[in-house]
């Protein structure tokens, strides 16, 4: 293998599994370390700079970081990264002084943002301090988009959302709420230098052809619309017996909200097997904790309506089989299953919808009705129009929308300065030794053995009686500190310098997880098999040195390195050293 080029920041970036997996590449270990030092304000600001909504995400993020967490490969459970973010948000001090302070001098450019969700708000936050005049349009009465209309208050208190939305709006954003933009052409005819579309995926899927759909319409609701009606208090109750169709997180929010609006027997019914449901495992657990059974392998056949009143639904039982490598649901042949219901919520997915963009506006759409958007620059075929969030490539999540917002803001800024959109700024990278003394490091190198701490929940009696009472209580400061110490500090990199190495094997002998091997070089596939512990996780890189004096090379398997620093402590010549690696995605401007 060729020697690893550690000067390429992407190499060490990939070692920081959580940060690499995060769409916004938030420097996770950096802020977790600050939490363990009780520096909550600093931890919050690192988050705010990167993901804009730490308080919101600390409660609702889809957590792509946690399945990636190295700790999950070493013991059972990853670090509770998401809930640690909330610890920073809950305990922070005054943060406004650390945010950009307006008013900003006008740079002569006007930007329109359509939709007031996380993507648009991120664009606003990145561009406002640069002097852009930002106009934000949303049909709702407040900013936040789906974060407000879709995420129930018992998961995300309104005050938390308001606070973080207002940090952005206070930068001097011109808001146009209660304003549905109904023509792209009209918008483009105004004097905006760029238009950002962050309108999400606003259309909930329906089951229009299912028998009984029209007859029972009064008690059959589209999940996302129903949730929005609850959020804005147009809907305040639901029948005692409720069926929620669908297996995603929206279905979980629907069923749990139903329990709070009078639903006593609420059931989630899903076509696929339980294990294949799209909902996050913790959301399924929370639903079941609230006495909501999840009935899997049931395909909806018809709504049963008697005398114009919805009575329930009939389902066909199926079983999954694998045929030609594809999973198919095959009817079991058992009689249809009737489940009683006063109301049915359909939460089987959502779609993009752009009725307000005229096809003559100069924006290309593909055959599925989706805009053609460049994955790097977020530019559409119209030079002034950019897309981000769910509206660009379909429904994802908040953190992805934020990441899109940052990139779109960069593009808009480049476009307004007449620079090529492909001229993306390099990441900000810093690599600095943590050596303090003979065996002293500037980071807590001890690896603690604690298992993952669980977040306490409020009493079910209380939370089910009030839609606005937050269920999760969050970590206490002490729990947060203990959980933060579980972090393995993957951003403290093991850096190897060939010409200092005397090949004494001290690092090989001490490494608790057998990561290091000195060996004759070979091709990667062969090398992976020949190491002291075969490196079978090919998603993790091998760190290979240049040839040493004995012609061998040092090979380190990054897979289960604990970043404990023992290799560097036992190295007599400092050929190994621990360097803190900071990687920040550069923002617009």
């Amino acid at each position: 293998m060729q020697p690893t080029d550690i000067k390429n920041p992407e190499y060490f970036h990939k070692v920081v599994d959580c940060q690499y997996a995060c769409p916004a590449h938030t420097p996770v270990p950096e802020y977790i370390r600050l939490i363990s030092q009780e520096k909550y304000t600093e931890a919050y600001m690192i988050n705010w700079e990167s993901n804009v909504f730490p308080g919101v995400l600390g409660r609702t993020c889809d957590r792509p970081c946690e399945p990636a967490c190295r700790r999950g490969r070493i013991e059972e459970e990853p670090v509770a990264i998401c809930r640690l973010k909330r610890v920073a948000a809950d305990n922070k001090g005054e943060v406004k002084p650390f945010m950009p302070q307006g008013p900003f001098s006008f740079n002569g450019k006007k930007i329109a943002l359509v939709g007031g969700g996380p993507a648009s708000l991120t664009v606003a936050r990145d561009l406002a301090p640069l002097g852009y005049e930002i106009h934000l349009f949303d049909e709702q009465i407040k900013g936040g988009g789906f974060m407000r209309s879709q995420i129930p208050s018992f998961r995300l208190p309104e005050s938390v959302l308001d606070e973080e939305v207002n940090y952005i709006l206070d930068l001097g954003i011109h808001t146009h709420f209660n304003h549905f933009v109904n023509s792209m052409e009209e918008l483009l005819s105004q004097d905006y230098d760029a238009v950002f579309v962050g309108t999400g995926a606003p259309k909930g899927r329906d089951l229009p052809d299912l028998p009984g759909r029209n007859e029972g319409a009064k008690n059959i609701h589209i999940g996302i619309n129903w949730l929005a009606n609850v959020a804005f208090e147009h809907t305040t109750n639901i029948g005692k017996k409720v069926i929620v169709l669908g297996g995603g997180n929206t279905a979980m929010d629907c069923c749990r909200t139903s329990r709070r609006l009078g639903g006593e027997s609420v059931k989630v019914v899903v076509r696929s097997p339980y294990s294949e449901m799209k909902a996050s495992p913790w959301e399924k657990e929370d639903a079941m904790h609230e006495d909501i059974p999840i009935v899997d392998n049931h395909v909806p056949i018809e709504f049963v309506v008697e005398n114009g009143v919805l009575k329930g639904m009939n389902f066909e039982k199926v079983t999954p089989i694998i045929e030609n490598g594809k999973r198919k649901l095959v009817p079991t042949g058992e009689p249809l299953v009737f489940i009683e219901a006063d109301d049915v919520l359909i939460a089987i997915g959502q779609e993009n919808s752009f009725p307000w963009i005229e096809r003559s506006a100069g924006i290309d759409f593909d055959k599925w009705g989706m805009p053609v958007v460049d994955t790097l620059t977020h530019a559409s075929s119209h030079p002034k129009v950019f897309f981000g969030g769910d509206s660009a490539w379909g429904p994802k999540n908040v953190i992805t929308a934020v990441a899109h917002g940052h990139q779109a803001a960069i593009s808009i800024d480049l476009a307004c300065r007449s620079l090529p959109l492909t001229q993306r700024p390099s990441p900000f990278v810093n690599l600095v030794s943590q050596k303090m003394g003979l065996h002293e490091w500037a980071y807590e190198s001890d690896v603690v053995n604690d298992v993952r701490y669980t977040v306490a929940q409020a009493d079910k009696k209380v939370t089910l009686s009030n839609r606005k009472t937050e269920v999760e209580l969050g970590f206490t400061k002490h729990e947060g500190c203990k959980e933060a110490e579980r972090c393995l500090n993957c951003d403290i990199q093991t850096v190897f310098v060939e010409d200092k190495c005397i090949e004494c094997d001290a690092c090989v002998d001490i490494c608790p997880t057998t990561c290091i091997t000195f060996i004759d070089n070979a091709e990667e596939d062969e090398l992976r098999q020949l190491l002291n512990m075969p490196a079978l996780n090919t998603s993790q890189d091998l760190y290979v040195s240049a040839p040493l004096k004995t012609k061998r090379v040092m090979v380190k398997d990054e897979d289960v390195c604990l970043h404990c620093g023992l290799c560097a402590e036992r190295c007599p010549t400092s050929a190994w050293d621990m360097h803190k690696f900071l990687y920040k995605v550069t923002k617009a401007g």
């Binding site: 070493i74 001890d446 001290a506 002998d509 004995t550 404990c564 620093g565 402590e569």
Partner: protein
């Protein structure tokens, strides 16, 4: 300073026949200097015990005084241990072995502990062919007292202070062969590929097995001009050949071509495989082994590998004809024949 090794290990660590992973054979975190060759030897011992499927309670590790003799703390934490008086490890090992012949005795000593204060003990334990493994971690200096030349420092070797050693070195392997040791090997701490099979073979040997391991002292004897530095040893290594140890139960898949490869069967059925480089040398011939040692010294080379093996000699228990049961298990009724037997003897003398 880190005093605790994290408890996490590679999740896929293999298990040996007893169901233990390598970590079960580890000891406490070493407090020797970073980069000490002794730590590599400790790691080789851990690996060997793991691969030999040794039940930890069936092994006793014994040592004297010195950096080397601290190391039993750093390996085989679940085995018996005795950190004895300076240079007196062989006596303690002899006593222990006499009392309980069922254990594997692993003695660890240094160049000071063996070649100076313990020389008298060393030569006599060889004479007696005590069944044990005797490893010398040889760094040519007194590391624990700031690096004075030891008795194994080569003539002409330059110390860290820049002083040239005027005295002749004691060649422990040459001495051991001369005195009739039945298993004599030499190796280098930085060459585990060779060291591990040597330790495993020593564990299978029925008699006194001596391994002299050159183990650089990074702090006091790794300077330019030292003949026990990593660089010097690597430049002057002369392996007697590649060498492997095949336990009794394993199927042998290597093909032997006569003249090039040898396989020696040990008394327990395991095999030693040699791939000889030097045709003049025969590890089963004492004169040939002596010659090889002398020739290497003449050529300023460090000869490594299994230098000499004699399987014919009787170990101490056979020599003194002890009973099959370990002596420590004999009870009063086994040892005292009783009044009747005494009366018979007395009657026979009338």
């Amino acid at each position: 300073m880190t005093f605790i090794k994290p408890k996490f290990r590679h999740p896929d660590l293999p298990k040996n026949k007893l169901g233990y992973t390598l970590s079960f054979y580890e000891g406490a975190l070493s407090t020797l200097c970073a980069g000490c060759g002794h730590d590599s030897i400790s790691a080789a011992i851990i690996q060997s015990a793991f691969e030999m499927n040794i039940e930890p309670h069936k092994l006793a590790k014994l040592s004297g005084i010195g950096c080397s003799s601290k190391t039993p703390t750093y390996f085989l934490g679940n085995s018996h241990g005795f950190n004895s008086v300076h240079g007196r490890m062989p006596s303690v090992a002899t006593g222990a072995n006499m009392a309980n012949k069922d254990l594997i005795y692993l003695g660890v000593s240094g160049d000071g502990d063996t070649a100076s204060i313990g020389m008298g003990q060393f030569v006599h334990v060889i004479r007696r062919n005590l069944k044990m493994i005797y490893i010398v971690m040889n760094n040519g200096c007194y590391g624990l007292t700031k690096g004075q030349d030891s008795a194994t420092a080569d003539n002409g070797s330059i110390s860290k202070a820049g002083i040239v050693n005027q005295f002749q070195a004691i060649d422990l392997c040459g001495l051991a062969i001369e005195l009739g040791a039945t298993f004599v090997a030499q190796s280098f701490s930085g060459d585990k590929k060779q060291l591990i099979p040597l330790i495993k073979a020593a564990m299978a040997h029925n008699g006194f097995a001596f391994i002299n391991v050159i183990s650089p002292c990074v702090t006091f004897n790794n300077n330019k001009g030292s003949t026990k530095s990593y660089d010097f040893v690597r430049d002057h290594l002369e392996a007697t050949g590649t060498f492997d140890f095949v336990p009794e139960m394993e199927e042998i898949t290597t093909n032997y071509e006569s003249g090039e490869k040898h396989a020696i069967k040990l008394h327990d059925g395991s095999l030693l495989q040699f791939n000889k480089l030097d045709n003049d040398w025969d590890p089963l011939d004492r004169f040939s082994a002596m010659k090889a040692v002398h020739q290497a010294r003449e050529k300023n080379e460090i000869i490594t590998g299994l230098l000499y093996l004699n399987q014919g000699a009787m170990d101490l228990h056979e020599l003194v004809n002890t009973c099959d049961r370990p002596l420590n298990t004999l009870k009063k009724e086994d040892l005292c024949p009783g009044n009747g037997a005494l009366a018979n003897i007395n009657a026979g003398l009338r």
